[in-house]
């Protein structure tokens, strides 16, 4: 046995036993344990296999820097791979599995890589699997992918719920250790809105794992008391289990809260994880410091861990890392761990101190070997002993656990995420936080202060300064007294010479010291190159333990200061964040809102099938009993509109009310056709261009009175047209007095089309709508017989006699019902956007299938609409340039399938008969196509080179996607009623 539970002590609840399993074996821990502490208490030393060599690995740390103890927690769809055992809170029923081993953790075939390791140095894959090229995708990559990788993602749908939340505060404190809590207390008492976020499930940080006392009581008591006071303050929010992962522009922080990752049976009312966006006027980085591993031969043997981790296991979790513990240190921390363990009855084999001398105090009777180093370790899957070298002599010392400490590095990641690089401090022998201004300041150990008293007072002072800055009357919180302060000093030691076996720098990616040497020799000595060449720091732990040593080793080999080597680039996220949490609620049908027309209920009653058009759900067609395909329904709807009458929901069109003395002038500049003299009570088709001369959108513009216009847009461009109008009114022509607002949602609008449209509508409209009284392109405010105030337009998108009736949205369904009732004797039918599309296709009317951003008015056959007499309109100047007026541009034409049973599809290309399909031979493309039930064959609208001169010519419609070529005849794009006799009936 080596790891075991001490008989007393620790901040665990020994009355609450929790059962869990690891690789199927039932084990027990206590409430307050992490999975790591519980595994160690059960002497489960071996927890994983390394990435490349599949070496046996044990727990190294007690926090998010853990490189080895990655496990898969949970089962089925609720499986989380690559979870660090050191931060996973233990709960009853937790199931954990080790990763990257086969067939078992103790016997792993992949460990053969370790034997082959002389051939698997850094860059091995790059060099070996480069050629032959075709082997890469089929052989090398699948092989490497199978051999590598850690946990496996499950393919089942994630059943968890996630959400996001905003938060605003005067002060965000990142980290709830001594300096963080002290700062929060000071600021909280002063009345600031404070948010404290800490990744741990228990707030207190190092206060929970030190043997020091504050005001005569254990430090953890001070932590609990402070947390209790903070909880009582209404202006303070405490977020435990919350990792601040990113610092963004304008002092916005991203954080992820693990709301119920720590429960066996999550509540359906709560989310699994919540992402916070925290807007902070000021923030303090109270993230503490990270202890550095030592790079010596055999330093990855299970049983070798950070000295500070040993202290935490003992103090916080009541777990001893071994029966006989040795320490290897270049500073005070090793001694501190020895004293802690010794006081708890753990035998200390020796303290191996790399330094020649120090004032640090070893426990009574413990052997200290100075100026010494460890060059190898013994044991296979667990540590049995260490080989200590001093003055050329080697000695084997038996032990079952080894604590190592190479000094400390402030945790400054967040401060470096916006471009500033950490700054090397010769005094601290570490990279310190850069000065990034007042928004974010490091405090306590993150600020390079390593004494408890120093951290407490730094927290209090920094918070008081911030309170004063923000105009609060700072209540000076008395800084508590630390009894018998522990010393803290170290000498930087990047690499321990004389290694007799591999000395690992990055445990997770199996990068050892020699790999860095190879990188340098091969010309990859720059820190960013060395990182990528060796993969040091590229694992899921992002090099939290390894990067600093890699920089130190590179500096040593290059004979320069670590300042000159610098660090790699820090970016969010500080620790991995699940994609589910980042997506929040925006998934599945909630990925985007659904917009529903006021006639949605009417369409449902009439049996509509809906189609998504942008955010809108539009009625596509209305199948009737016996109709087996959508085409049957659509053909019936089209024929019925041509023969009788139909009702179509067009509420989704964009609608804009435009007012003001300059409204006419404004619209005249927006549309390429004239609007200025549009009479009151009239509607007009309008075409808007982009400034580059291409068509932007089409729609109608109606005039209700001198200074009130009503503009409609296409459904798709409603938003962009509104934005364009706002741009023109505000940024281009602020001198025009015009105001406008969207009324899209106010109106239910329906098209009533067909020869019997008037007969139907006349029954519900109060007033004469005969052709004489209400001719084509009339637009008026009217009143229905039911008393409803409405708007009526005589416009048509089908070529039939047609009206568009707009009524207040809430009345839409009732009015549509009334029209259907009034139309029953006239065989009225509901028709959807599919029939609408066929109707307009038969008439050669255009949509954004034609206006695809490459089409000029002339291309579309609308060249005569351009009013060049106007001084100016958007797009006028560039519409006359050479390329847009060339004679061989693609022009709108109609296509008729020569064989009546052949169909065409949009996207097909046009070729001259007898030519091969090639870009050079391309003559144009089909923009819209469909079956015309009126004509009984397929028709299409297409853009064809000089198309208007080519009516009657036969072209090949080449559809590579369906491998189909058919012959079609080029014709006028108006297939039905070219004289518009029906329209004006």
């Amino acid at each position: 046995m080596s790891g075991y539970r001490l008989s007393s002590g620790g901040l665990i609840d020994r009355s609450k036993t929790l059962s869990f399993t690891f690789d199927g074996s039932p084990l027990r821990g206590f409430a307050g344990d992490t999975l790591a502490s519980a595994l160690l208490a059960n002497d489960q030393l071996l927890v994983g296999r390394s990435f490349k060599y599949h070496r046996p690995r044990g727990i190294v740390s007690t926090g998010p820097s853990e490189p080895n103890a990655l496990v898969t927690i949970g089962s089925g769809a609720r499986t989380d791979a690559n979870t660090k055992a050191t931060v996973a809170e233990l709960y009853g029923g937790l199931t954990a599995r080790s990763q990257n081993r086969w067939p078992s953790l103790a016997f792993d075939i992949g460990a053969v890589n370790g034997v082959l390791s002389p051939f698997l140095g850094a860059g091995f894959y790059y060099k070996t699997f480069m050629w032959p090229k075709q082997f890469w995708e089929r052989i090398y990559e699948p092989f490497i992918r199978r051999a590598a990788g850690l946990g496996r993602a499950v393919l089942e749908r994630d059943p968890e719920a996630y959400e996001k939340s905003w938060a605003f505060c005067d002060l965000l404190v990142v980290g709830a250790g001594p300096s963080g809590l002290m700062a929060a207390l000071t600021a909280g008492r002063a009345g600031l809105r404070v948010i404290v976020a800490d990744e741990d499930f228990r707030l207190g940080g190092s206060l929970l794992s030190t043997s020091e006392t504050i005001d005569g009581a254990p430090a953890s008591v001070f932590a609990d008391r402070t947390v209790a006071e903070l909880q009582s303050l209404p202006n303070v929010t405490l977020l435990s289990r919350t990792t601040v992962f990113g610092w963004y522009d304008d002092n916005v922080f991203g954080a992820v809260e693990r709301v119920q990752k720590h429960v066996a049976e999550p509540s359906s009312k709560l989310v699994s994880e919540r992402v916070w966006r925290i807007v902070a006027k000021r923030a303090l980085l109270a993230t503490g410091a990270e202890e550095r591993p030592l790079v010596f031969g055999g330093n990855d043997r299970p049983g070798v861990m950070m000295a500070g981790a040993m202290t935490t296991f003992a103090e916080r979790y009541g777990v001893a890392a071994g029966k006989t513990v040795a320490l290897f240190t270049s500073g005070s921390a090793g001694y501190r761990t020895a004293r802690t363990l010794s006081a708890k009855g753990v035998a200390i084999a020796a303290i191996v101190d790399a330094r020649a001398e120090s004032g640090d105090q070893a426990p009574d009777g413990v052997r200290v070997i100075r100026s010494a180093s460890i060059v190898d370790t013994k044991g296979r899957q667990r540590l049995k002993g260490i080989v200590v070298e001093r003055s050329g002599f080697e000695e084997l010392i038996a032990c079952d656990a080894l604590g190592m400490s190479g000094g400390w590095s402030p945790v400054v990641h967040l401060a470096c995420q916006r471009g500033a690089k950490p700054v090397w401090s010769e005094a601290l022998k570490a990279f310190a936080a850069p000065d990034v201004g007042g928004g974010l300041r490091p405090v306590g150990a993150a600020n390079g202060i390593y004494t408890l008293a120093g951290c407490l007072s730094d927290g209090a002072e920094k918070a008081a300064t911030i309170a004063a800055d923000l105009g609060f009357n700072a209540v000076s919180a008395a800084v508590p007294v630390v009894d018998a302060e522990e010393a803290s000093s170290f000498t930087a030691l990047w690499y321990v010479p004389g290694a007799k076996s591999k000395a690992f720098v990055d445990f997770q990616n199996d990068v050892h010291a020699k790999d860095l040497g190879l990188a340098l020799r091969e010309g990859f000595g720059h820190v960013e190159h060395a990182k990528r060449y060796t993969t040091n720091g590229m694992a899921t732990d992002q090099g939290k333990l390894s990067n600093i040593n890699a920089v130190g080793i590179l500096a040593g080999m290059r004979g320069v200061s670590p300042a000159e080597v610098g660090t790699t680039t820090f970016r969010p996220f500080y620790t991995p964040v699940s994609l589910g949490a980042l997506a929040g609620t925006a998934r599945d049908e909630h990925a985007a809102p659904a917009r529903k027309s006021p006639l949605h209920g009417w369409a449902m009653k009439n049996g509509a099938t809906f189609v998504e058009a942008g955010l809108w759900h539009r009625s596509a067609w209305f199948p009737r009993a016996g109709e087996k395909t959508w085409r049957e329904s659509v053909d019936r709807e089209v024929l019925n509109v041509r023969a009788n009458v139909g009702l179509c929901d067009v509420s989704t069109l964009g609608k804009i009310e435009v007012f003001g003395p300059d409204a006419a002038e404004f619209l005249n500049r927006l549309y390429c056709n004239p609007v200025l003299k549009l009479p009151v009570g009239k509607a007009r088709y309008g075409l808007m261009l982009r400034e580059d001369g291409f068509v932007f959108d089409d729609g109608t513009v109606s005039r209700f009175d001198e200074a009130h216009f009503f503009v409609t847009t296409t459904t798709a461009m409603a938003g962009p047209v509104m934005a364009h109008m706002e741009y023109c009114a505000q940024a281009l022509w602020p001198e025009l007095e015009v105001r406008f607002t969207s009324s899209t949602d106010q109106w239910a609008q329906m098209a009533i089309a067909g020869p019997k449209a008037r007969a139907v509508l006349q029954q519900i409209v109060d007033g004469d709508i005969s052709d004489g009284a209400f001719p084509f392109l009339s637009a008026r405010k009217i009143v229905l017989k039911s008393g409803v105030a409405a708007r009526l337009f005589r416009i048509s998108f089908s070529g039939e006699l047609a009206f568009e009736l707009a009524v207040p949205a809430g009345n839409g369904e009732a009015v549509a019902d009334q029209i259907m009732e009034a139309g029953r004797p006239h065989d009225i039918c509901a028709y959807g956007v599919e029939a609408l599309n066929v109707l307009r296709l038969e008439k050669g009317l255009l949509t954004h299938a034609e206006f695809d951003g490459r089409v000029t008015p002339d291309d579309a056959g609308l060249g005569r609409m351009l009013s060049m007499q106007k001084v100016d309109f958007i797009g006028k100047r560039l519409s006359t340039r050479y390329g847009l007026t060339a004679a061989d541009r693609m022009q709108l034409v109609g296509l008729k399938a020569v064989d009546a049973d052949k169909d065409m599809r949009a996207g097909a290309h046009l070729l001259k008969e007898g030519t091969k399909p090639s870009t050079l031979n391309d003559q144009g493309w089909v923009s819209s196509a469909g079956f015309s039930p009126v004509l009984g064959h397929a028709i299409a609208l297409a853009f064809l080179k000089s198309g208007r001169e080519r009516y009657g010519e036969k072209v090949i419609v080449f559809d590579k996607l369906r491998d189909q070529e058919i012959v079609a005849e080029v014709c006028d794009p108006v297939f039905v009623d070219p004289q518009n006799a029906k329209l004006k009936a």
């Binding site: 959400e163 949602d745 009345n811």
Partner: protein, 184 residues
């Protein structure tokens, strides 16, 4: 006000289930509410705002410079438009939006926590004072948010988005057992 029983509310399909007793956090959906957009003419913004603000039963919701949504629980839609046109006396253009907008009234002790899940605006009582209003995004949906009482907020949303916003709000309030019903 005169009620038009042929006028269907956007949430009639969604909110059909029998109302449960209201929880501490409750969502009321305004059924009969008249609303209009008021667009002040150049130089008239302050005068228009003052004349409307002088009428207690009219509530001004800021939409942009010289632009408001005006809400009335008393007037019928056509009456509100007439009333506003009289009040503004040619200084503004008035557009009826009574059918184009839906009002949600969210009230309760956790209302700010619920709103924070969708709205990136600081609604702390000291920052977003009583009577304050703003156009904001709630998730992906544009809304006008107003604080109408100590712990009461109104969200006004374009009608076509009403079902989606309703679903979103109910989910945002799930942890607090949020209930919902029509206001009358």
């Amino acid at each position: 006000m005169v009620r038009d029983y042929n006028n269907r509310h956007a949430l009639e399909q969604k909110l059909r289930s029998a109302p449960r007793p209201a929880a501490a956090d409750h969502l009321m959906v305004g059924h009969w509410r008249a609303m209009a957009t008021v667009l002040a003419r150049a130089g008239q913004a302050e005068a228009v705002r003052q004349s409307i603000a002088s009428v207690p039963e009219l509530s001004l919701r800021f939409s942009g410079p010289g632009e408001w949504l005006v809400v009335s629980e008393v007037e019928a839609p056509s009456g509100l438009v007439r009333r506003l046109e009289e009040l503004c006396d040619g200084g503004a253009y008035v557009v009826d939006q009574s059918d184009g907008r839906v009002v949600f009234r969210l009230t309760g002790p956790n209302v700010r926590s619920i709103l924070a899940k969708g709205i990136g605006l600081d609604v702390h009582p000291a920052t977003f004072s009583l009577g304050g209003s703003a156009n904001v995004l709630c998730g992906h949906i544009p809304v006008n948010l107003a604080r109408t009482d100590e712990d009461t907020f109104e969200l006004i949303v374009p009608r076509s988005y009403a079902e989606s916003l309703f679903d979103d709000l109910m989910r945002m309030g799930r942890a607090f057992d949020l209930t919902a019903a029509f206001s009358d």
